[in-house]
């Protein structure tokens, strides 16, 4: 019976699949796509014995742990290693990533049929999954950084999958550049920790952080810990699309829909949340950094929630909804709610994957390759009931309607905020929760309810390979929430599995739950009144808050600001440097030197006059000069 020592095989299989498809895919049936699916499927199967082993070897309430590492290469006084750690956090992520990736790949078998580069698509998916799976298992910061970058690369390759489209090429570039700006922070943070502690090993660094938090002598000083935590968070901000580095995610829609599903649910964007959760012992020693996490998360959530209200492209609404949820996860971490954040990550992963796959299904049915304007759709539930049903479940779950998964996770975040952060955080959190309910139900109502448009008569339900993943994830979204609750004596709820410091059994706060239900249902009601009965006129509301609407609809001018900075500052500065190099350094300095040699030669040649008395004068002057010099320096 395989156990935790087999965990490394889960990412390894997908790495192998990537190599096999790249090398031999073109000669295999279906371009080798099945290899990727088999690899990730096997990974999902392997996840179970790993988890069972993890739970079984631990004491009750304190799950086991397993790790190993081998030397990549020694250099100087240190050695770089590749190693893995199997603990509840990584096993949770293994489950999420393998299942979502499996669903997405099965769905893609049908969705991408007939595409050129079909094999490459699956190779990139395999590499994506493999990198993310290694990321969650990494036991040291170097390996983490390596796969962290590979995750970024895969998003670049997949967002730009249709590279013949200018917009796709630009979106891919934007995603890669933006996340790399964040990665500067991450790398500097890692190097700072190495300089102080002399190791890249997470366990050793976190042990020092724990000493610092406990007030014992530690290699880390409070200032270093804070700086390192903030720098690591900057990396997380890039990947997890936190304000002000969120701009790449909405544009990432340019990739095929299943890619969006993967990026938004299980890989890429949750990497940042995972990183902060993984490094939480460090953050715990740096309260200022935790506060920054909370503030950034909150700002992100509020801004994204408002933007999701005003956009009309289905995938863009979902993208902003992802940014909102990522903000909430960060907010939760910033309120010391590690359990809540990870539970929300879990709930969000399946719901959001389902929403994106549903959006893809809608596009597939409407034969709209790029994106669907929700104003063009409507009444589609008659044509695609399964898609409508699962999309509805996902929307309701993320809106926080009981008893779906999102309700439980939102409740946990609420609880964490309530006990650790001041009222303003709680208040804004409730505003976000309300807006979420509004825009998600707006999306569902606009696409699936109402009368069917004439031009949409041809729309049809998607084939089984696409609806099956939807149904599976829908079922999971229905039941996953109950993981929060302890059902048996051995399982006291999610809080006893993934936690920081101490395990916490599930407890239900009726007051908080009631508030959150009221907020969610209120959001649904507002959307219903606006988009179904027409009691509230969206247009008149828009008119009344016109300046605000313009601000939000222009995405808070963030894209314009960045464009301005790039055009007016960065490119201008690089133009200045390039000009300086060519004109000042080269033409002035280098050619100038050459020119002065040439011109001095031209002038000096006149002293070679050929006239004897000139030479005699020269000799005489020279002799006088030598004598004078000798007379000056000679000892008296």
């Amino acid at each position: 019976m395989p156990g935790m020592e087999w965990a490394w095989l889960i990412p390894a299989l997908s790495f192998i699949a990537f190599a096999l498809i790249v090398a031999f895919g073109r000669w295999l049936p279906g371009r080798g796509a099945f290899i990727a699916v088999l690899a990730i499927g096997a990974g999902f199967v392997l996840f179970w014995p790993v988890m069972v082993d993890l739970v079984r070897t631990g004491l009750p309430g304190e799950p086991g742990q397993y790790g190993f590492s081998w030397t990549w290469f020694p250099v100087g006084d240190t050695r770089l290693t590749w190693g893995m750690i199997v603990d509840p956090l990584s096993v949770l992520m293994l489950g999420i990533v393998t299942l979502v990736a499996l669903g997405v790949q099965v769905y893609s078998l049908e969705y991408m049929r007939g595409e050129p580069r079909y094999g490459w698509y699956f190779a990139a998916h395999a590499l994506f999954a493999a990198s993310m799976l290694t990321l969650v298992l990494a036991d040291n910061f170097i390996l983490l950084y390596i796969v962290w970058e590979l995750v970024g690369l895969c998003s670049y390759l997949l967002i730009g999958f249709w590279f013949e489209r200018r917009s796709a090429a630009e979106a891919a570039k934007k995603a890669f550049v933006t996340t790399r700006i964040g990665d500067v922070g991450l790398l500097v943070g890692i190097l700072l920790l190495f300089k102080v502690t002399g190791t890249f090993q997470m366990s050793a660094i976190f042990a020092e952080a724990a000493k610092l938090a406990a007030g014992e002598p530690s290699l880390l000083s409070s200032g270093t810990a804070t700086a390192a935590a903030i720098l690591i968070f900057v990396g997380a901000m890039g990947k997890s699309a936190q304000f002000p580095l969120h701009v790449w995610l909405p544009d990432a829609m340019e990739g095929p829909s299943p890619v969006s599903a993967l990026i938004h649910a299980a890989t890429m964007v949750v990497a940042g949340v995972f990183l902060v959760a993984r490094a939480f012992p460090l953050f715990d020693a740096a309260p200022t950094a935790v506060l920054i996490v909370a503030v950034v998360g909150l700002i992100t959530a509020v801004l994204a929630a408002t933007m999701a209200l005003v956009v009309t492209d289905l995938k863009r609404i979902l993208a902003y909804s992802t940014v909102t949820d990522l903000g909430l996860m960060m907010l939760s971490l910033g309120a010391f709610g590690v359990t809540a954040a990870m539970f929300h990550l879990l709930a969000h992963a399946f719901a959001k994957a389902m929403l994106f796959l549903g959006a893809g299904s809608v596009m597939h049915g409407m034969h709209e390759p790029g994106d669907v304007d929700i104003r063009k759709a409507g009444g589609l539930w008659r044509r695609m009931p399964l898609t409508a049903l699962t999309f509805g479940i996902g929307a309701l779950a993320l809106a926080g309607v009981p008893p779906l998964s999102g309700f439980f996770s939102k409740d946990e975040i609420f609880g964490a905020l309530w006990s650790h952060r001041p009222a303003v955080f709680v208040l804004l959190f409730l505003v976000v929760a309300f807006l979420k309910a509004v825009y998600l139900s707006r999306a569902w109502l606009a696409v699936f309810s109402g009368p069917l448009k004439r031009e949409n008569e041809h729309v049809h339900e998607s084939p089984l390979a696409m609806t099956l993943p939807l149904l599976v994830m829908g079922a999971l979204t229905l039941v996953l929430g109950f993981l929060a609750i302890g059902w048996t004596a051995d399982y006291q709820g999610f809080g006893t599995f993934v936690f920081f410091h101490e395990a916490e059994a599930f407890h239900f706060n009726l007051g908080l739950a009631a508030v959150s239900v009221v907020v969610a249902v209120g959001g649904l009601a507002v959307a219903w009144a606006t988009y179904v009965t027409g009691r509230i006129s969206a247009a008149s509301v828009q008119r009344r808050v016109a300046p605000l609407h313009r601000l939000v609809a222009s995405k808070y001018y963030m894209d314009d600001l960045y464009q301005w900075v790039i055009n007016k500052l960065v490119l201008a500065f690089s133009g200045l440097v390039a000009w300086f190099d060519r004109v000042v350094v080269n033409d002035g300095g280098v050619n100038g030197t050459a020119e002065s040699v040439r011109s001095s030669g031209l002038r000096l040649r006149y002293h070679v006059s050929g006239k004897m008395y000139n030479y005699a004068l020269g000799m005489a002057l020279g002799a006088v000069a030598v004598i004078l010099l000798w007379w000056l320096v000679a000892p008296v």
Binding site: F73, G76, I142, G160, A169, R180, V188, V577, V590
Partner: protein
């Protein structure tokens, strides 16, 4: 030691000369024969350098495969060939790049660059014979510099590697005209050679000073490294070596020969020049400067650290604004050589090891860059980023390789550039955190200009003008594959390189700390 071990290094140094002589005997009207001989010689050089790489015993360290010929006893000059942990990877680099370079030179003398000038009569430009003769002389110089443990011959080979460049660029190169300025190939060739010769004069002054002051009566580096020079002497003459060799390494502000020279040079020469010759500069700083004048190095390295940071950022920021593919790669070389200098400036085992690995990594990477730009230029007859668009659709292989090399350039893990730069950053952060951070920012700037270039030239809709563009030939794809394989190998499994470099760096830095 077997016969092969004793003579492996001579083989490498003299094989190119022999090949040049053989090519000399082939009639100029038989370019395909010349080409085949060149390929065979290139392959033999790769095999020879691989042999040296495999034979070097990293557990022993020190100088190996030593072979010494007496030459001028009165002055203490001998042809002493040997490799250590630092020069062995450089020898392999040279073998890899020259083989790939001969492969992609199939079109020398028949491309658009040389045709139609004199009504059908082949001019020198249209013959590949003279080209390969000069190229191989140059390569002999490169191998010679890396394996000489005698200052006199090191300098001799160093010059031998520079001089043929003048003709190679001046005759087979290309001039370019831009809206705001133009550069003739003659200008670029002359600037390059004057610059490098100027640098070597500085280095030669220092070498002679070392020879005279040591009073050892020998040019043997191993003997001289035992001499402890007066600290004042070291501090005075180290800058001569630093700047003298640094010119060839693209040291700011003496770098302007480099982008212009690369742009004007034909593909194989750009590959060899940016790939290998720039490493000779850095190698000179290590082998002569840091080895013989360790205290001088300790004094001046903080200055180099600052200049190297300027190199990194200045090169990257300049590259961002270039419109010509070759200028982008040329300035990116200035930037990436900055990491080599930065690593050396750390004077710390991890950083210096990173610098040496970066020398290998950048050599292979930039050779691949120039090979691919050459393919594009050969097909499209221009290199303007603003005009080329959507080539990936038509030139799938070229685009694939270009993406890989671009990712290497921006330091993507799994490829060689990452390992090297990571080590440089680790070492640099330990010594000068602020400058190290600026270096990391430079890597982010690299991402910007590389991704911009990829998006503009290869992605997007293919414009009608480039619809009929043929992809890389199998030969070119093969050359690119060899370079790519080296990049991926070092990126995933750098251990064979690192453990070798570790021994060399340890010996080097022990001398510094012992001084």
């Amino acid at each position: 030691m077997t016969f092969f071990d004793t003579h492996a290094l001579e083989f490498l140094v003299f094989l190119p000369v022999v090949a040049a002589v053989v090519i000399l005997l082939v009639p100029a009207e038989r370019p395909s024969v010349v080409l085949r001989i060149a390929w065979a010689a290139g392959a033999l050089m790769l095999v020879g350098s691989l042999y040296v790489f495999v034979r070097y015993d990293y557990t022993q360290g020190g100088f190996q495969l030593v072979h010494q010929y007496r030459w001028l006893d009165q002055l203490g000059i001998s042809l002493k060939l040997a490799v250590d942990g630092i020069s062995t990877p450089m020898v392999l680099l040279t073998g890899v790049v020259i083989f790939a370079g001969t492969l992609v030179s199939w079109n020398i003398g028949q491309s658009h660059e040389g045709t139609g000038e004199h009504g059908g009569v082949p001019t020198t430009r249209q013959r590949n014979k003279d080209f390969f003769i000069l190229l191989f002389l140059l390569v002999s110089g490169v191998f010679g510099t890396f394996v000489s443990v005698d200052l006199f011959f090191l300098f001799f080979f160093y010059e031998l590697a520079v001089i043929p460049m003048y003709l190679l660029i001046g005759v087979w190169g290309s001039s370019s005209t831009f809206p705001t300025f133009s550069r003739t190939k003659e200008y670029s060739a002359m600037k390059l050679v004057l610059y490098l010769v100027g640098g070597s004069i500085l280095a030669w002054v220092a070498i002679l000073a070392i020879y005279v002051v040591s009073q050892a009566g020998t040019f043997d580096i191993e003997v001289l490294s035992e001499v402890s020079f007066d600290p004042g002497f070291q501090r005075t003459f180290f800058p001569f070596l630093l700047v003298g060799f640094g010119v060839l390494a693209g040291l700011w502000p003496f770098h302007t020969w480099s982008p212009d020279g690369h742009v004007a040079a034909p593909t194989a020469v750009s590959m060899l020049h940016a790939g290998v010759l720039m490493k000779l500069g850095a190698f000179g700083i290590i082998r002569v400067g840091m080895t013989l004048l360790p205290e001088g190095a300790t004094t001046w390295m903080p200055v180099l650290f600052g200049v190297a940071t300027v190199n990194v950022l200045y090169g990257a920021i300049s590259a961002m604004h270039q419109q010509d593919l070759k200028y982008v790669v040329g300035y990116s070389s200035v930037s990436h050589m900055g990491y080599v200098l930065m690593g050396l400036a750390t004077m710390e085992p991890i950083g210096v090891a990173g610098a040496v690995l970066q020398m290998f990594s950048h050599g292979v990477m930039t050779a691949l860059f120039f090979a691919l730009v050459g393919v594009v230029y050969d097909r499209a007859h221009l290199r303007d980023i603003g005009v080329l668009e959507g080539l990936a659709k038509r030139m799938g292989w070229t685009a694939t390789f270009f993406v890989i090399v671009g990712l290497t350039s921006l330091g993507l893990p799994g490829l060689s550039g990452f390992v090297a730069e990571l080590l440089v950053f680790i070492g640099a952060f330990r010594t000068q955190p602020v400058l190290a951070i600026l270096g990391i920012v430079g890597a982010a700037v690299t991402a910007v200009y590389i991704l911009r270039l990829l998006a503009k030239v290869f992605f997007g809709p293919v414009s009608p003008r480039w619809e009929g563009l043929p992809d890389a030939k199998p030969l070119e794809a093969f050359a690119a594959s060899i370079l790519t394989a080296s990049i991926v190998f070092v990126g995933l499994y750098p251990l064979p390189f690192i453990r070798m470099i570790n021994t060399g760096v340890k010996a080097l830095l022990d001398r510094v700390s012992g001084a």
